[in-house]
Amino acid sequence: MTAKRKILVIEDDHDQRLGMRLRLAASGYDVAEAVDGVDALGAARRENPDLILLDLGLPGEDGYTVIANLRAIDITRSTPIVVISGRDPRTDGARARDAGADAFLQKPWDDDDLLRTIREALGVEPLGPQEALK
């Protein structure tokens, strides 16, 4: 049986984090969560995620600093990072990519876009919901 891919969601807003977790779990992914930059580094080391979803407006260190910190540790040096933010995709999206993110989606995100972006970043098809239950 193929192991489920694990996604680390870094988002300070409880409701959005829960929404993402439900959607990702229903799409066959394991989900880990973090609420700020410090929490994110600990979760990254502990969970060794296959992909990271990151909000930019976090308490304490902002998302750009979090990207830099994640790129500075071995375990997430090359892990795909997809930024999900309410900010402008043209300016903040370019800045996020320059900082080391792989993709940028604007809130409110479209689930089809989110899942397609994740699949492309992982380079694999996710497990279907039925297979995920096995």
Partner: protein, 289 residues
């Protein structure tokens, strides 16, 4: 002596007026920048809770929270449609603020028009299908490439189709055409025409003005009324022009032109000089306001 003194006094008064005018202009620019920063911040803050609402509605729609009755599905569909409308209005608010401040970002690259329109056709068709309109897209396979921003061209075409869908009667036809601009070999012309009620002849010139849509009947309830203004700013920032005409058989025809891509444009887009993202063109607010 008296003449000299009068001249000196006039000169001093003129200088004072000039300084006052410059101070007012500086104040106006600062005010625009303050407003821009606030609206950018507000848009971001509004998008976050809207993201949660949108996500939980789609979870409900997709049955992830359990089965819904047919009636509940209909209610969720109505809520989702309105959330998307709110999202689009927040987007317009941000864009119009950037346009007013001369901060619209346009990223130019070579756009091959025929395949570009072919890729875009399913999106435009689904918009027309929602109102049982027939969409016809015509493009000449031999068309020149244009120098423009593919995302921004899409934004303009989507807005024009949205307008057509809003005003054209069900079952009527909406046509999108890309052809060489007659008499202007350096431009490609895009045309979107519908069979709706049309724009009154007296308003054809001013429908692209800032706030025109918000202050004239017929457009207010559907959005912020700034869509055509944003279209004009986007087209102008890509060195093109946009205008409206009465359709020959009634309805509205909106046309816009974009410059043909030339090899010298390509020099700025080569990998050696940096990718297309480096070619940012900011609109000149002074030229358009």
């Amino acid at each position: 002596m008296r003449v000299e003194r009068a001249l000196a006094e006039s000169e001093a008064r003129l200088q004072a007026i000039l300084e006052h005018t410059q101070a007012l202009e500086q104040e106006r620019v600062q005010e625009l920048e303050r407003d821009g920063r606030f609206i950018s911040h507000a848009s971001h803050e509004l998008r976050s809770p809207l993201g949660a609402v949108h996500e939980f509605l789609t979870l409900l729609r997709d049955g992830i929270g359990g089965d819904l009755s047919t009636e509940h599905e209909r209610y969720v569909g109505i809520m989702l449609r309105n959330v998307c409308h709110l999202r689009d209005m927040i987007g317009d608010l941000s864009e119009v603020t950037r346009a007013r401040a001369g901060k619209l970002v346009v990223t130019a690259s070579r756009v091959d028009v025929a395949p570009y329109l072919e890729d875009l056709t399913p999106t435009l068709t689904s918009m027309a299908d929602a109102r049982q309109l027939r969409l016809e897209v015509r493009r000449n396979s031999g068309l020149s490439a244009v120098l423009g921003d593919p995302d921004r061209i899409r934004q303009v075409l989507v807005h024009l189709i949205e307008n057509a869908v809003r005003y054209a009667p069900e079952g009527s036809r909406v046509t999108v055409v890309a052809d060489p601009y007659p008499g202007e070999p350096d431009y490609v012309r895009f045309t979107v025409s519908d069979q709706g009620c049309g724009i009154p002849a007296g308003e054809l010139e001013c429908v692209f003005e800032y706030m025109h849509g918000a202050t004239h009947s017929g457009t207010g309830p559907h959005g912020l009324g700034v869509g055509l203004y944003i279209c004009r700013e986007l087209v102008t920032a890509q060195k093109g022009r946009i205008w409206a005409e009465r359709g020959s058989g009634g309805g509205t025809t909106v046309r816009f032109s974009l410059p043909v891509f030339s090899p010298s444009d390509g020099e700025g887009l080569s990998p050696r000089r940096g990718d297309a993202r480096r070619m940012l063109m900011e609109n000149d607010v002074a030229a358009h306001s």
